[in-house]
Subunit: 516 residues, 2 copies
């Protein structure tokens, strides 16, 4: 059984290499040829994942009520659980359905690009409709015991349900809207000076940015013996060979000093998770070495990007290095830089959103997805609902759909259920950081000195190496922090941080916490 699981893991790594290559180095004339290679490999992989012999093994092992009596370790038990779960999902998806989804993905991605260009949602609508049908069919076959949208959520983040998200998002929605409104109402006396730093429209050597990005990735612990950083149109992380080969990509712009470095640290956070996987379990082909889902994965990237690298402590240490690297920067303090990069400014575009409004972009998408799947929203009504919710949650509304419901590729490629992981990850990130601070009292002092090993090793043991030992991310989080997902902790952090930056009356902050 291990050899079969190991083969699946090897083929998945190959699949990831094909994707990475397509992302960074594929000659443009080879796009279709690569598509055929991906399809051929997907067929092979699916036949291995749904191999009936593997299924019999797994079923037999799962039916024994107490495998630990038979001398199996906790790690092996979790591996059987994970492998059986994946096997059942794979057998549910027929080759025909798989082929239909693959073809739809390619066609809809092309249409989405065009629709966004010409600002015409109606072009994309029939494809989204077809995705919903395909995913419902897939859900009915692969996981008839849960609702189709819960199946979509669970695909990216095991155990995530509409019930959980409804609860979490209800808790954060109102307080974030309140905080956002208070920040927006506040005019900052130092605004003009901060703008004069010109961090987002200056001229910053890309070579130097790349050097800095590599430096930061390395400082937080990314290991080049088992990974790479290349450039690509969209930052991403590719898992080629478990902890042994993890590839980051980032994007740098001459005019923007911050975006490329932030993206690189974000991806390096994903990379650290992968590099910290249980090597022995990986080498034995045991699925337990895999991440605990995309929510936890996102918590790792956001912990490093937002909690660490957007903190004042971090820049206390590194701002002088940036100043040395770019002589054109005006003389300024770490605190100035900290304030600029943490500016809260409502944006129409999710990927450009600040930390406070970002979760509201997600809540909006989640509510639309949920209602599409439960039948209370029709695809053609997406634009109207989108615009109305934008106004309601974030206070601005797009003049055209290309800056609204056409901005993300996710739905066009069938990634319904993915968006929530971004917000859930942000909540986990602060919750994990808090738990780390209890066990590592010098944590903030360390950040001020550019010392990251204690935090990284703590995460390595608690999160990275634990993989998917627990059945759900919440169980993992509970085992580490003593409680399940905790939106209050997230709100506390944001309220304190931005009350400080925007000099909000402390009563505001207290009131905000009470209002949840």
């Amino acid at each position: 059984m291990k050899s079969k699981l190991k083969e699946i893991s090897a083929l998945e790594g190959i699949q990831s290499l094909l994707e990475w290559d397509q992302h960074v180095y594929l000659p443009q004339g080879a796009t279709n040829a690569r598509k055929e290679q991906m399809e051929a490999l997907a067929r092979v992989l699916h036949s291995r994942q749904s191999d009936p012999v593997l299924g019999e093994y797994l079923e037999a092992m799962s039916s024994v009520t107490d495998l630990s009596e038979h001398g199996f370790s906790e790690i092996e038990l979790a591996s059987v659980r994970e492998a059986y779960r994946e096997y059942k999902r794979a057998v549910g998806i027929t080759p025909e359905l798989q082929a239909r989804a693959a073809a739809l993905k390619v066609r809809a991605a092309v249409v989405w690009k065009k629709a966004r260009e010409v600002n015409d949602f109606s072009m994309l609508a029939p494809y989204l409709q077809e995705w919903i049908e395909v995913l419902k069919e897939e859900a009915a076959a692969a996981a008839p015991e849960i609702s189709p949208y819960d199946y979509c959520l669970d695909k990216f983040d095991r155990g995530t349900t509409t019930e959980k998200l409804d609860e979490v998002f209800t808790l954060i929605k109102e307080p974030l809207r309140v905080l956002l409104r208070r920040i927006s109402a506040k005019s900052r006396p130092d605004r003009q000076f901060l703008q004069s730093m010109d961090l987002f429209s200056g001229s910053f050597s890309v070579e130097t940015q790349k050097r800095l990005a590599r430096r930061f990735a390395e400082e937080i612990g990314f290991c080049w013996d088992n990974g790479r950083l290349d450039e690509s149109a969209h930052p991403a992380t590719f898992f080629i060979s478990g902890p042994l080969d993890v590839r980051l990509t980032s994007r740098f712009s001459e005019t923007d000093l911050v975006a490329g470095i932030r993206a690189s640290i974000h991806e390096a956070g994903h990379g650290l998770y992968e590099q910290g996987r249980n090597l022995k379990a990986y080498q034995e082909g045991l699925p337990v070495s895999r991440s605990a889902g995309m929510g936890i994965h996102e918590s790792q990237s956001l912990l490093w990007e937002r909690v660490v690298a957007m903190s004042e402590e971090f820049w206390d240490h590194y701002w002088p290095m940036i100043l040395r690297s770019y002589s054109s920067l005006p003389n300024s303090k770490a605190e100035d830089f900290y304030k600029v990069i943490n500016e809260v400014r409502p944006s129409l575009v999710r990927v450009e959103a600040d930390e406070v409004s970002y979760p509201l972009h997600i809540v909006l998408r989640y509510e639309i997805e949920k209602n599409l799947f439960n039948g209370s929203l029709r695809v053609e009504d997406i634009p109207a609902v989108w615009n109305q919710k934008m106004q309601e949650y974030i206070g601005i509304s797009p003049a055209k759909d290309s800056e609204g419901c056409l901005q993300d590729i996710h739905w066009a490629v069938g990634y319904f259920g993915y968006f929530p992981t971004y917000a859930i990850g942000a909540i986990y990130a602060y919750q994990l950081f808090d738990a780390a601070e209890i066990e590592l009292p010098d944590l903030r002092k360390n950040l001020k000195q550019g010392v990251f090993a204690p935090l990284r090793e703590w995460l390595r043991v608690k999160v990275h190496n634990t993989g998917s030992l627990y059945e759900t991310p919440d169980e993992l989080i509970k085992s580490i922090t003593g409680r399940a997902i905790d939106p209050a902790c997230f709100l506390d952090h944001l309220s304190n941080k931005y009350s400080g930056i925007y000099d909000l009356p402390s009563t505001d902050s207290r009131e905000l916490i009470l209002s949840r």
Copy 2:
């Protein structure tokens, strides 16, 4: 059947991508993980190549005596022939034998590296012995109708036999030895000046070399929409997706102006062959679109590297560009550069050998391989025979095996039968160039003007696009040049070229031709 062949072709392309990635970008800590991915993919590929359903189709089609009566085209007939040939080879190799060979390849490559470092052939000897046994077993299963060494030759170059090589190598061996001796006896009056150009121990910006290499690849017609050029420790060409994705790698040294550019043009020659493949046949998965074997492949790389890019005409056009690129070069003529890069100087090392002595390095290896397989030479006697033949053919002999029989990795990885393609390719190259010159009277004038399209298009139609339509490379060569492989043509060219460079009496040259 086409869909099965297409799947095989897609999986082979993936295999090639894994190799390319290993060559250029794989993090060093992922070597073993990549090995496991390669093994997993090899098993999948082998199961597809030996798929009994495919075999039944192919057998049925092959047994019909006149498929053309059934409306099949010449291209489809050749595809059935090629596919059936490959199928029969694949079924001969059991998964056990394949696994044994794969493991041996990895182990022996490591031992070879070590043996070469410590200069101890006896470390490697048992592995070579095992390779001979493995290959004999493989040959007996896959092609019992021919001798094991003929099977090895045929693996890399369809239809190549000991009989053919004995004949060809006997014809060239003595004339090349005579030419080499005459050149060596000749002292050149301009030697000191040529050495002062310092082309192989100077200081030449690698960035500029890379730019020039890309320029030359492009000038001869390599298309970046369907290919790449990256750096690697060993120059090579990888066939990722037929004509749509061909990847060259090259190596550049700060001190050597010539090697990196030569290697890049060589690989671009391979690349042109692949980019010129029959696109329609490739897209239908028809094996006829593949190259006519490694001998013809090498003829394409050598035609561009040696016949074109080491000609005086070529440098008439490009030498000024080189002079402009490197201001440190002494004022000198294209003719000087031509003479330096074509210097004949016996070398112990094959890859550093000049054009005249190179085939003798191959003849030596061929004779050793042949005798190992027919039992007239024992593995432990390789070093003695190697050194004696070096002295006899090239006039020098290594003081240590690391510069002798341990210099090449080929045998350690089981590539017995590969070396001859290098010499055969050189002969084809000149023969094809001669045929092109008859049909393109302006050919040399074109080279003087940096105009390569007519030659490239001629090769595209005659060689690249024809693929493996003919059953053997000699049939292809005959269809183009009117005769089978012609060593006399090769000797003529070398004799004329080097008589000119070394100012040999013209009687020498005539005598040399007669002596064949």
